[in-house]
Symmetry: C2
Subunit: 287 residues, 2 copies
Amino acid sequence: MAMLIAHLGPTGTYAEQAALAYLNRLKYEEQITLCPYPSIAQTLKAVARGKADVAVVPVENSIEGSVTITLDTLWQLDQLQIQLALVLPITHALLSHAPSLEAINTVYSHPQALAQCQGWLEQFLPTVELIPANSTTEALQHLEQESSAGAISSLRAARIYNLPILARAINDYPDNCTRFWVVGQRSVSRQMSAVKYTHTSVAFSLPANTPGALVKPLQIFAERSINLSRIESRPTKRSLGEYLFFLDLEADANSPLVQSAIAELSTFTEILKLFGSYNVVEVKSDS
Amino acid sequence: MAMLIAHLGPTGTYAEQAALAYLNRLKYEEQITLCPYPSIAQTLKAVARGKADVAVVPVENSIEGSVTITLDTLWQLDQLQIQLALVLPITHALLSHAPSLEAINTVYSHPQALAQCQGWLEQFLPTVELIPANSTTEALQHLEQESSAGAISSLRAARIYNLPILARAINDYPDNCTRFWVVGQRSVSRQMSAVKYTHTSVAFSLPANTPGALVKPLQIFAERSINLSRIESRPTKRSLGEYLFFLDLEADANSPLVQSAIAELSTFTEILKLFGSYNVVEVKSDS
């Protein structure tokens, strides 16, 4: 049976790079097809509705932080489970048909990419207009018609769409990388697996906002020497000042230590969701 | 002397509404001028460089969460202090020259506004193309040329630019509001003031990521029954997995209780920044 991998498209995005890196790791005999979707929410919903087997979605960038739509959609869609995390190095380039930087008056890209290059843009293109796009690839569609336009995208996208590179490695911080999650439908067999995983992700809401309400959940893990590699708050969307908390634990949910922590945690939370255990692999940028 | 209030422009944005609400609260004898800036970072930098007296910047929306550029810029610019928080109700409308919803094929707006109306858009305009803009007002510039385009903006913007309203109150959650901070230069006189404030904002980095590293800072406040109304993590931008933490305390930094908490907190943090104490006022939407 063919396997379908959903990702944010169109072809040439960093999400597609991550999906390809995942595909290359699979020892799968049958056909594997990448399915680009126009938004991250639709990518995850495709898996929830059984239209794709897994989704490869960005969750966090080292410079710009959380990709909040991924967290919010995962909270809403109950039946999903994280299977793997991929860390992809990000190197942005400025693509354009213009002969030189001086000829550029507009730069298109995804808001995260524009933000990751803001120092470079202020230094080398201080007067250009910055225009957001839905993805780094969608930004490229302006280049054919506008010879004074540039787009921030990857070297891989430059190769795919045969576009000239005006400047390379323009991200402000060289250590720029994005973490992706490979998300599939919850499966009992995977939960019972004997494989050991290094990370577990959970999220919860708290019944009341009292002094120290968040201390107790964090103490539960600290007392067991379980390190939290990340804590992120998101609005419940009910009213300003009410939050959900997303935690990444450096431990396997199948270990007795984590199971006792989760059992204790559930006595303090209003809603508690387990997004599964997984390993983290660093993949190479295809550039 | 004229007073200058910086905000994200152009005229018609929600940030301008918040700036006007702030202006109306001032009992100021001299001229007050609003100065629109093309980005939130430039709005805050104008105050840091003495080009404006205060900046009115969005910090958090009840649906979409933190405005991360505000937090990141405040961390970078040392000399700024929060003077007041304003909570503005947000009611989005769809503006367009099209005769009906059926005639719309493209919707422009700021990504936060598009996200806040995604349910309505999926229900009533499932096939339209969603195109991000730098602000809800910038989105309006497409309406003159494209009769099949819509823009999500405020009723106030519809009035200012004399644009037809195709649909009102299209935000998915009726309880949609945005919190703004009024930020000025740090002043000694204000720190010594006898006025009591209800909220204090701080941010810090931690020297090492060990189990329970964040528990101790939170315990310091819990032990003193100081409620945290918000905790937000942001990347340090040094490497994936290293964070800054932004806390809002429901207490005045001048109280002995908070002063002892801050003194103890500083023994656990790497860098600790105090953004000042302030009150929170709810303002009315000008629509």
